[in-house]
Symmetry: C2
Subunit: 363 residues, 2 copies
Amino acid sequence: MITALNTTAPVVALRVAEGHAAENPLSLGDLGEWELIRRLSAFAPPGQFNDDAAVLDADNGAGALVVNTDVMVEGVHFSDRTTNPEDVGWRAAAANLSDLAAMGCTTVVGLTVGLVAPASTSWAWVEGVYCGLAACLRHHGGVLLGGDCSGGSSRMLAITALGRLPAARQAAPRDAARSSGLIRRADGSPGDWLVSSGPHGLSRLGLALLQGELSTAPTAELGLRAIAAHRRPRPRFDVVRALISCRPADLAWRVGGCDSSDGLAAAAAAIASSSGCIACLDPDALPLEPAMAALPNARDWCLAGGEDFELVLALAPAWAAALCQLLPGCRPVGVLEPGRAEVPRWSNGDPITPELGGYQHFG
Amino acid sequence: MITALNTTAPVVALRVAEGHAAENPLSLGDLGEWELIRRLSAFAPPGQFNDDAAVLDADNGAGALVVNTDVMVEGVHFSDRTTNPEDVGWRAAAANLSDLAAMGCTTVVGLTVGLVAPASTSWAWVEGVYCGLAACLRHHGGVLLGGDCSGGSSRMLAITALGRLPAARQAAPRDAARSSGLIRRADGSPGDWLVSSGPHGLSRLGLALLQGELSTAPTAELGLRAIAAHRRPRPRFDVVRALISCRPADLAWRVGGCDSSDGLAAAAAAIASSSGCIACLDPDALPLEPAMAALPNARDWCLAGGEDFELVLALAPAWAAALCQLLPGCRPVGVLEPGRAEVPRWSNGDPITPELGGYQHFG
């Protein structure tokens, strides 16, 4: 789904060039992805583009439906060189389902698939893609609901995933607007811990190995895990279920969060920006695989490699601690502090400066 | 949405070439669109691809949600030569909403939009497309729910529309499987009248005028209406509402139908094939604009021009007559007869033989 940040592109430099002459009209490349999304959000109700996905009937409470659309384009999101068709299908489904998990869904209803491909595309490739999609659905629930197909000059998948929030939880009486069970970017508060559901940077390492950017991983086992993380990401519905089961009895439902498809730092920035806080990350608590630490790019990849599809959550400390105790792999990575800053900071106040935006479309 | 017919491509010749050598693998062009869809339907629950869109919680009865995905590709579904950006947006939305109407929806929830475009695409074009989408939603209800955007080598829109069936109607007690308010291809019966909600072929005439295939229309007024039909099709929610309001008290809910995005004959064939009947069209009752009759292609365009986005319905005669009386423009065009035939027939038994398949992707 469009992952708009609340303000104009807090972490990505823009090249907005409104003054172009008429014979050189403003292009999407001039705008950049975030400014494009900001402009498109004007066509939707206020706040509609603020989260990873859209909630239908949130007021309904019980099992509200969540819908999310993602596109995957050959040469941008996948290529035959690094991804076999089964993995293209799995990743396309998993990326969408990850957005459902990031909203707090515990049930997958299903997906629709828009397939565009040249007539010369082999049936074997398409079959492989749908095998991968179906495998991801078998693993996480839901069915193929339908879709459409068309010829076109390049291969493209547009997936819409539908999921449901859990039915029987009560919203905090003191804030009825925070629907029960929903995870929203804007629901972080100062004092919350930022929790990462798993390591970051593995998928980027896997891509580096698949593209030949790196010839070997520090260990063979890490290399295999990194390639698996890139090819077969897991939507973290298990984290949502753990989050529900470990909520301290005295805490009402309030969970800030999103997934880390654009990287850990971008996720922290999005939550902080939407919640009106500053994200402070602890440099000694980066969720980095120990075996990756020797790599020169390890910290940048951890912060901004992207496509990790973990959840980054803002939780009251007691709930955060309970989650980290319940689910191995979940760990605190920082806190939300009062104030406003477009860029996350280190605990000592220094801004976090690597390339933070993940992949920039139209960049 | 994928508009699979119940059997293997009843009206479109296939070029299935399973025996290709390994160095020349079976391609989508070898399969053709309908065989591709038939194969993809194997990844979904049985019957899931049988209709214009998918129903969620049909058993729930009240206001079940319907979801539909369509892709529109530059050079296939639109081009700058014939369609300005506002019309691209309107048509993309309307084509999707038409599938919701064809399922019996009376309420539009909204759309998600996956946009793929090269970085060189002008913002003005994208803005125009979204203005057109928003105009269609303002007219028919629903909001822009979200979406995604990506760079890519050509322009493409993948739209997912969500709608709701009306809430408070009762299914026929004698057939609980026929959910209240749903329109399905398979719900026609021998003896039903086939009703067209409006004229057919206008959109194809509009395209011919826009492409310069025809230099003038028989009358200027018809030319303008034809171009409007091509550029600004109307999803026929008004027909669904009329259908509900004129149901004879002694008839339970049972409505076969689909929209005519692939043409009148293909719609009749799809209903007949899914319902286990033969579609017989009356050659003297073709839903043709009188002013079009002088055109040499008029009958073929009426039968198979495509993109008319009218509803073609199979109704018990009393209900069909009530509908045609209530809503000017609705007219009986034929009947469903007992038996099975892959191709619709004329009343005298002759098969209807023009190019029936509408646009064939991968053909």
